[in-house]
Symmetry: C2
Subunit: 341 residues, 2 copies
Amino acid sequence: MKPKKYADIIDVANQAGVSPATVSRCFNHPDKVRPDTRRRIKTAVESTGYIRNRAAQAIHGRRSGTVGLIVPTLDNAIFSNLIQAFSEQLNASGFTMLVATHGYDLDREYQLLRSLLEHRVEGIGLIGLDHKEETYSLIERRETPSVAMWNYRPDTRISCVGADNYEAGRMIARHILDIGHKRVALVFPDIEGNDRAAYRLKGVQDVFDEQKIDVPKNWHLHTPYSIKHARRVCTPLLSSEDKPTAIIAGNDVIAQGVIYAAQALGFKVPNRISVAGIGDFSGSAHLLPSLTTIRLRSNKVGQTAGMILDKLINGDQENHIERVAIGVELMQRQSTAHPFT
Amino acid sequence: MKPKKYADIIDVANQAGVSPATVSRCFNHPDKVRPDTRRRIKTAVESTGYIRNRAAQAIHGRRSGTVGLIVPTLDNAIFSNLIQAFSEQLNASGFTMLVATHGYDLDREYQLLRSLLEHRVEGIGLIGLDHKEETYSLIERRETPSVAMWNYRPDTRISCVGADNYEAGRMIARHILDIGHKRVALVFPDIEGNDRAAYRLKGVQDVFDEQKIDVPKNWHLHTPYSIKHARRVCTPLLSSEDKPTAIIAGNDVIAQGVIYAAQALGFKVPNRISVAGIGDFSGSAHLLPSLTTIRLRSNKVGQTAGMILDKLINGDQENHIERVAIGVELMQRQSTAHPFT
DNA sequence: AATAACAATGCAAACGTTTTCATTTTGTGT
DNA sequence: ACACAAAATGAAAACGTTTGCATTGTTATT
């Protein structure tokens, strides 16, 4: 006699004196079973310690109750707001979130997508719009509801919700030029496989080109996403004779590194040098000096993405694509000012 | 004729001219099928676009290939290192991670645990040791391999790996007293449902008691986890006539807020006031002044937790409990110094 | 009170795999 | 070539649910 490990739906049914079908209905369509019966089943569930098996219901072609999220990394503040908001929104709709990280490796991303599909996620959240052709075509082939977060464009292959990063770049560039700077350096992350950064940079450069402002090659710095690296990479530039009067950073964390580099060398910000970021991370408003940046409202992005995904999954429109642009906004604070002369 | 939506294992089998059983084996025990057959199956998989159904295999009492993680929130830097390391480690062992957040609500945590068990996760990661009795007993009843991260104690009901937060509190308190401070304020998060903070605070207070140092009630501040709130809550204290010479913060983010509060009022750190944190978050070393804190090595915690969970799941020891303490370390930096006299 | 309409329940067939056991194929030693 | 062991494969039963259809129980209508 093999003692079964855990109660299944049949044990519950026996205990309650009904058929398994009724127990199942009691979970999935409670209105279809008599309150009295429902109560008896509830008691049986408790006394047996039954926990339903989602796998068994997922197999039925029915809902798995999961949604997949693929992000480059969980390790930094950029995505945490976003993910939290996304997760909460989907939780509210009854989904559990499967998360996978690829470390900015798009081949890996494709593998993770496959893995999530094996788990029969009902929808997929991605970051950005830069993905392998295989990734896009797999999504299309399986007709998996998907939403790309963080970047908006009007011509995407899948639904997207995000800030217009290009506009964010333009906006911060205009601000810097508006307040009179002509000698500006740029500190950006590597744009390889990172369309968010690429669009921002493009926006900045287009404005500069339009205004005939030239950024010398060696004022064009690259740094990984960290205060430490940003600080290190800026120090030589700021120590040189021929300094810029302003620095635009690809995001707020980098901007923070830049500010520290300047302060460590004894340059007051913004008196001697202006620094601007992009992103308006929590904390940016409370730095000293508070950081001029572009607000991207990542939690709004995450929340909206969650809502859209829910709609795509539960809605009736097949293969519908929805695109939402979340407005960007200049947060003018203390870290930028007219150039020192 | 109903056109089936997606290829299943039978389609693949037909295409390859073998039985479904062989296809299944080809995935799960590749060494048991001839290389030649394997190749034919591979081709068939590709041409049909087959993606295996984990739910169907999970139903077989076999592995679901998922591990659950329950955290208070994804929204802040505290956990991101930890989660990232945990996730990567488990990924390497072939698991996908199901993540759920409860916002420091332990009732919610219990619900999430149930939900994850419905998905038949093979293991569970939790944060901290403060959980409802129901949560513990459900885990024990289902014999689900579990590991609590972030806090170490020698007498836990489930496996744990983490820093000794009590010792961390003692360590930073000793440092502050060692360098000569006698007038110290404490700024901590609410310890309700947050055993990490509770242990740290206990450690600090025990050292103070041993050394007969008294902290007046009103030097005992509470703040949510954010730079903004920390800064705000400290400002009145620092503006008053009767100021402390040092402040110990419950974690580095709060410490950063404290430093900004001081600097905004024109008090140099550490000259006029010393500030210490706990955690050594990425970035803490690069603040100005760099922050004296206790290094907790969260990525080590996450990684170790992942390894332990893998071992608990795949190992042969039933109901084994493993406990690992990750050492803490004083990082003495610029934000603390002898009191100004 | 008889019947129609409807609500509640049960039966049994699916869902897509894995696995045990039996069978067939392949390889080895003579 | 032959016998035999070993390896590869197939057939079919399981896994724990859901659901269409049939059946039974209940209420409303006359």
